[in-house]
């Protein structure tokens, strides 16, 4: 029999349904792996040992009663950006090092309601601001494929945990690529749904108009399984949209025949690693073989994506993070001289350098005299970028390309120049600006490191993205590759 940690969520579900093993057995096995292997990775900020075992036991009882929800007894991990009642929720920051959430995020509540068992909270860039997981107050996460490399970020802990078979599935969030880039760099599947698809309630905000929760798994099928539970209208989030949730798992078998896939000319310009380009082209050829029709599309404003993002996201974050003032929750500086000192030192000491830079960038672009030139102009360019996508989706069903310009980079390589780090997200940011669903799936290896294929669809086309990936995964085995040290 396959070892429990080698099994996908779907495989574990089948085994539980067939009575081959129990949830307690799965959870014990994975907790054991986390204990022995995570010190090499630092993928977890908090491990929920006893609580997870208790939940697993309850799930086994529920199953025995014939009362099993869709994810009953299945192990998952949460990115530590999701508030979980009575559990420490740090967002990767010293600011929230001792913050115990008094409530559950909607995502947490829905997954728990479906019977999922949470093994722990995963490491991340501080407040999701980073593309390498190096901004975490709890230290960087290492890439299971090469511990000298970054797993990407900000959902680096979730991606590394899934890639290293410490958990079959993880929640994650994506503001500019924070699900898809780490998925690409760790050889996992990561999907960021349409903006408004999954509730943001209880997900600590970075940039409200860009943030969206999604999942990281090993297969499209597992993503479909989880997303189906997480998605849907939530009256506590004004930006949540009341749009029906299709049966993502049921739609996985839709064939690729006639699916029009757009290739973006600009994606293959200078900047893209040649080996990565080849892996992506091979994947496209594979899709074509299964009936997809490839055409070229144009995203003329692609180069504006990163600068637009680095105005909009910091502007929103500068305001979203003002609530961390040392008064009601979070880090509070010792012995403040006065109110101003309480604010400035609590925030100066509680936030790390990258978060402070983004808050200051955002403060600057919103300040008197600069608003029109930066913030308003960025909002207009955001419209242009969205129009590019609208035009493209008039002709194609999906857009495909690379997720990142290169495979995983070495830890420390990009920390000196923020711009170099920011440009790592050049292919992923557009989907956030336009609110589109997008997915990264493993499609090759370069020098022992995974490469990601990036798919973007029109609003509400998560089912199509998942089905195309599922079809691709029927004929290919990139998603089955596991890093040697974690087989």
């Amino acid at each position: 029999m396959t070892a429990l940690h080698e099994m996908t969520l779907s495989g574990l579900k089948a085994g539980l349904d067939a009575g081959e093993f129990t949830s307690v057995e799965i959870v014990s096995a994975l907790l054991g792996r986390i204990e022995s292997l995570d010190p090499q990775l630092n993928a977890f900020i908090t491990v929920l040992g006893e609580a997870a075992l208790a939940d697993a036991a309850r799930a086994d009882e529920a199953r025995a009663r014939g009362d099993a929800g869709p994810l009953c007894g299945l192990p998952i991990v949460h990115k530590d950006i999701f508030c979980m009642r009575d559990v420490r929720t740090t967002c990767g920051s010293r600011m929230l090092e001792n913050f115990v959430s008094p409530y559950d995020a909607t995502v947490v509540e829905r997954l728990a309601g479906a019977g999922a068992v949470v093994l722990g909270k995963t490491n991340m860039d501080e407040f999701a601001m980073g593309s390498s997981n190096e901004t975490s107050w709890f230290g960087p996460v290492k890439n299971p494929w090469d511990p000298a490399c970054s797993p990407g970020g900000s959902s680096g802990g979730s991606a590394a945990a899934v890639a290293a078979r410490l958990a079959p599935a993880a929640t994650a969030t994506d503001t500019g690529g924070s699900i898809r880039q780490p998925a690409a760099l760790t050889g996992t599947v990561g999907i960021k749904p349409t903006y408004g698809r999954v509730s943001r309630y209880g997900m600590i905000a970075f940039a409200s108009s860009l943030d969206q929760a999604g999942v990281i798994t090993r297969t499209a099928e597992d993503s479909a399984r989880l997303l189906g539970v997480m998605a849907g209208f939530d009256e506590r989030d004004s930006t949540s949209i009341d749009h029906p949730v299709p049966d993502y798992v049921g739609e996985l078998d839709v064939a690729l025949d006639g699916l029009r896939i757009g290739i973006v000319r600009q994606h293959f310009d200078a900047g893209l690693d040649a080996s990565c380009a080849q892996a992506v082209r091979d994947a496209l050829a594979e899709l074509e073989k299964r009936g997809a029709v490839l055409t070229e599309v144009d995203l003329p404003n692609l180069d504006y994506c990163v600068p637009t993002y680095y105005v909009v996201a910091p502007a929103e974050c500068s305001s979203n993070l003002s609530r961390f003032d040392g008064v009601r929750f979070g880090y509070r500086a010792k012995d403040p001289e006065d109110l101003l000192d309480l604010y400035c030192r609590s925030r100066g000491e509680g936030f790390g350098a990258e978060v402070k830079r983004r808050i200051m960038t955002g403060t600057y672009v919103l300040s008197a005299g600069y608003y029109d030139a930066y913030y308003l102009q960025a909002q207009k360019v955001r419209q242009l970028i969205s129009e590019d996508f609208r035009r493209a989706f008039a002709d194609v069903d999906l857009i495909a390309g690379p997720t990142t310009p290169t495979p995983a980079f070495r830890l420390g390589d990009k920390t000196d120049d923020p711009i170099t780090m920011y440009l790592n997200d050049i292919y992923t940011i557009g989907a956030n600006l336009a609110g589109l669903p997008a997915l990264s799936a493993p499609c090759g290896m370069v020098d022992g490191l995974p490469v990601g294929l990036h798919l973007v669809g029109p609003h509400w086309s998560e089912g199509r993205l998942l089905a195309a990936t599922h079809q691709y995964q029927q004929d290919t085995a990139w998603h089955e590759a596991a890093p040697e040290a974690f087989r």
Partner: protein
Amino acid sequence: MSLDNEQVQHIALLARLRLADDELGETVEKLSRIVDFVDQLAAAPTDDVVPMAHPLNAVQRLRPDAVTEPDDRDHLQQNAAAVSDGLYLVPKVIE
């Protein structure tokens, strides 16, 4: 350098962030690079373009006027560093 020390200090004050002395130089340098980078937006052709605040063209939903949140003060104040008689404490506010 597109930003100077004084500007960065002013931004830091607006954002209520104390920068340690050894942080300032690097902050000025990196923020300047970011500002230079986003300056390229000025070249985008945005005449007559409507600014986009939200990715979806949706409208605010309205909830009924009903009290749904009971008092949970003691639980909610467990995260606060300084509380007295149900009040959050801060250094004296001078008006």
